[in-house]
């Protein structure tokens, strides 16, 4: 009953006049989609065996290829093209935008930060994830521990940023009690005058990186943990009989045996880190020398309305991913031929 009144109250306060058209378009969208699929199947199943040989491509393959072409391939090419044009995408200006990116001091800081991010996040989250995966591998009730560490994966980057902004809250008045955990801890260990966490560079970049590590560690842990489960017990037992120490067992058996999974984790985290923009945007807005390429691209394109520089930054981002793509495709090819 309580829930019901709450629901009605919400509907009224929200303004049914706003929700009604939105709800209509949502339901209409879903129904249209379902109707189209239904129709395609009716037509497909009724058509002759011969006709099906080409109708099947039309129904099953063409929609995806069409969307990928106009939604990913065409825009990517066009962005490359725009990166050689001026702010409004009208005149060709050669490498001007790239020269801008590599000479302007602010942008150089942005590039430097992005490199720090893409090095630090994969290294820390994979290492910590690997450690926890190893420690919880055969632990009783390890599931709970893993679940807690994995939880940040479910939270949005924006939500995570609010959580950590609160941790990093700074109280300028030294006589007032701290409400930020970080400052309180700093004082507890004897730092009487803690720094303004999110403003002082270069520390602030690392504090932002910590948020991303906090999120990605769970991912690394789960994937690496799954790979560890597949190490045959015989090998572990044999090493125990040989009297190998924990550390030796970890470094000479576990790590080498899951090496390729470690590579996958590092590359996945790295790609995710390159693209991250929400954390920087929400925590510092890219101020105080914390900006990264993904966020600056957004600023250039949508706040400065400069499509040229925005596109050039997007292309730089993509260049960072290319070696990884090449490596992954080679891996995939090799695996396919092995099968």
């Amino acid at each position: 009953m309580g829930i019901l009144t709450f629901g009605i109250l919400t509907a009224r306060e929200t303004g049914w006049d706003v929700i009604a058209p939105n709800l209509t378009i949502t339901i209409f969208g879903l129904l249209t989609f379902a109707a189209v699929i239904f129709l395609l199947f009716v037509i497909g199943e009724r058509s002759s065996v011969k006709a099906q040989e080409w109708v099947k491509y039309l129904v099953f393959l063409v929609p995806a290829l069409f969307l990928l072409t106009i939604g990913l391939i065409y825009p990517a090419i066009r962005t490359l093209f725009l990166s050689f044009m001026d702010a409004r995408g009208e005149n060709f200006i050669g490498f001007e935008n790239y020269i801008w990116a590599f000479t302007k001091p602010e942008i150089l800081v942005v590039l430097r930060n992005t490199i720090i991010w893409t090095l630090a996040v994969p290294i820390f989250s994979t290492t910590i994830g690997l450690g926890i995966a190893y420690f919880t591998d055969r632990m009783k009730r390890g599931a709970w521990v893993k679940s807690l560490i994995f939880m940040p994966m479910a939270i949005s980057f924006v939500g995570a940023s609010v959580i950590w902004r609160f941790v990093y809250t700074y109280e300028p008045n030294l006589n007032k009690p701290d409400i930020g955990l970080m400052s309180a801890l700093a004082k507890a260990i004897g730092i009487a005058d803690p720094p303004i966490w999110l403003i002082e560079a270069p520390m602030n970049t690392f504090l932002l990186i910590a948020v991303m590590v906090w999120i990605q560690t769970g991912f690394a842990m789960v994937v690496l943990g799954a790979a560890m489960k597949n190490i045959p017990d015989e090998i572990v037992e044999a090493s125990m009989l040989d009297g190998a120490s924990q550390w030796r067992r970890f470094s000479q058996i576990t790590v080498p045996m899951i090496r390729s999974t470690i590579v996958v984790v590092v590359t996945t985290v790295l790609i995710g880190t390159l693209k991250v923009f929400d954390i920087v945007r929400t925590m510092t807005g890219g101020n105080f020398e914390t900006n990264v390429v993904a966020n600056e691209m957004f600023n250039q394109a949508f706040q400065q309305r400069n499509y040229g520089t925005g596109s050039a930054l997007a292309i730089l981002l993509f260049l960072g991913v290319i070696p990884i793509v090449a490596y992954n495709i080679r891996q995939l090819r090799r695996e396919r031929t092995e099968r």
Binding site: E13, L30, F157, G159, I163, L181
Partner: protein, 313 residues
């Protein structure tokens, strides 16, 4: 990737395994793991506690003092959930928007992806491998690379000055957001579902073909029912991804408040002076509650999807 090959089944609880297990349960390792788990949870926990404290308490004392001086209120939730002003609607509106964006943005890509995965796994045609590898490579195209042209496409329906879509005036509605999420979700979805569909036994498919099932009936009667578990795990993935997304909602929503999802509002609240912690913590928690419920109830499927994506590779 030999270490990932499934090991002989049925060995899990043999004596050997148990012996190994005992030998490994070093109290120090467990202690270390528990400490890290607590460390990982404290920030979220602090946020949760704060969201239930009265405003006065929040700004004057740390949330950890709550336990010596417990003072609980629902006021913060009430105010962010229900009270809007002339400019911004209350959060309940954004919650609705998040659902209205997320559900179609999970249904559309999954349907189109399972179709394409079916075609790539079971149709024999020239260039199949090339298409498959291309889609695999598309996975890593940063969203940022596509934003400007795609927005122009939605705004004007033109590709390189040529009208390819009717000018539908869809900006400012959910439609561009749905389409954008559908496009961005496709490569990974096709890749994962393709891996799954390929494992359906060939005899099963051939038997159905011999019995006279056409390609459409084959999909409806055999392929689709068998792929439901894979679809389910990817659905969770896509749902969380869309729900938690900020970039697409921000750019393709066109800054229209009536259709913006929760994340966009939350990011806006952070940037606004005057949004106190009592509002931010409650707002953040509201935005997290749905993904957390999904996560804790369906964790097993979520992990399955995750592993399929990263381990199979």
């Amino acid at each position: 990737m030999t270490q990932l090959a499934p090991k002989p089944s049925g060995l899990k609880l043999t004596k050997g395994r148990r012996k190994v297990k005992d030998a490994f349960s070093s109290p120090w390792a467990s202690f270390f793991a528990i400490v890290i788990a607590l460390l990982w949870t404290i920030p979220t926990f602090g946020l949760l506690v704060t969201s239930f404290r009265p405003k006065v308490d929040i700004v004057t004392t740390g949330w950890w003092t709550f336990f010596s001086n417990p003072n609980v209120t629902l006021e913060n939730y009430q105010s962010v959930f229900l009270q809007g002003n002339n400019v911004t609607p209350p959060l309940s509106q954004y919650i609705f928007n998040s659902f209205a964006i997320t559900i179609p943005a999970a249904v559309f890509p999954l349907t189109i992806a399972v179709f394409a995965a079916y075609a790539l796994a079971w149709f024999e045609f020239k260039g199949r491998d090339f298409i498959f590898f291309s889609i695999f490579a598309l996975q890593v195209i940063p969203l940022q690379l596509t934003l400007i042209p795609l927005l122009q496409l939605f705004a004007r329906g033109q590709i390189a000055g040529v009208q390819v879509l009717p000018d539908m005036e869809i900006t400012g509605s959910y439609i561009p957001i749905w389409i954008a999420h559908t496009i961005f979700g496709l490569p990974l979805a096709i890749f994962l579902l393709h891996n799954f569909l390929r494992q359906i036994p060939r005899e099963l498919v051939e038997a159905a073909r011999v019995d006279g099932a056409g390609w459409f009936m084959l999909f409806r009667k055999i392929i689709f029912p068998l792929s439901i578990p894979a679809i389910a795990s990817f659905a969770i993935f896509q749902f969380l991804w869309v729900w938690n997304d900020l970039l697409v909602g921000l750019t393709f929503g066109g800054g229209v408040r009536e259709i913006a999802p929760l994340t966009v509002r939350l990011a806006e609240m952070v940037g606004t002076r005057g949004s106190g912690w009592e509002v931010l913590t409650a707002g953040a928690f509201i935005s997290m509650i749905v993904p957390l419920i999904v996560f804790f109830t369906l964790q097993r499927y979520f992990i399955r999807g995750l592993l399929a994506g990263s381990v199979k590779g």
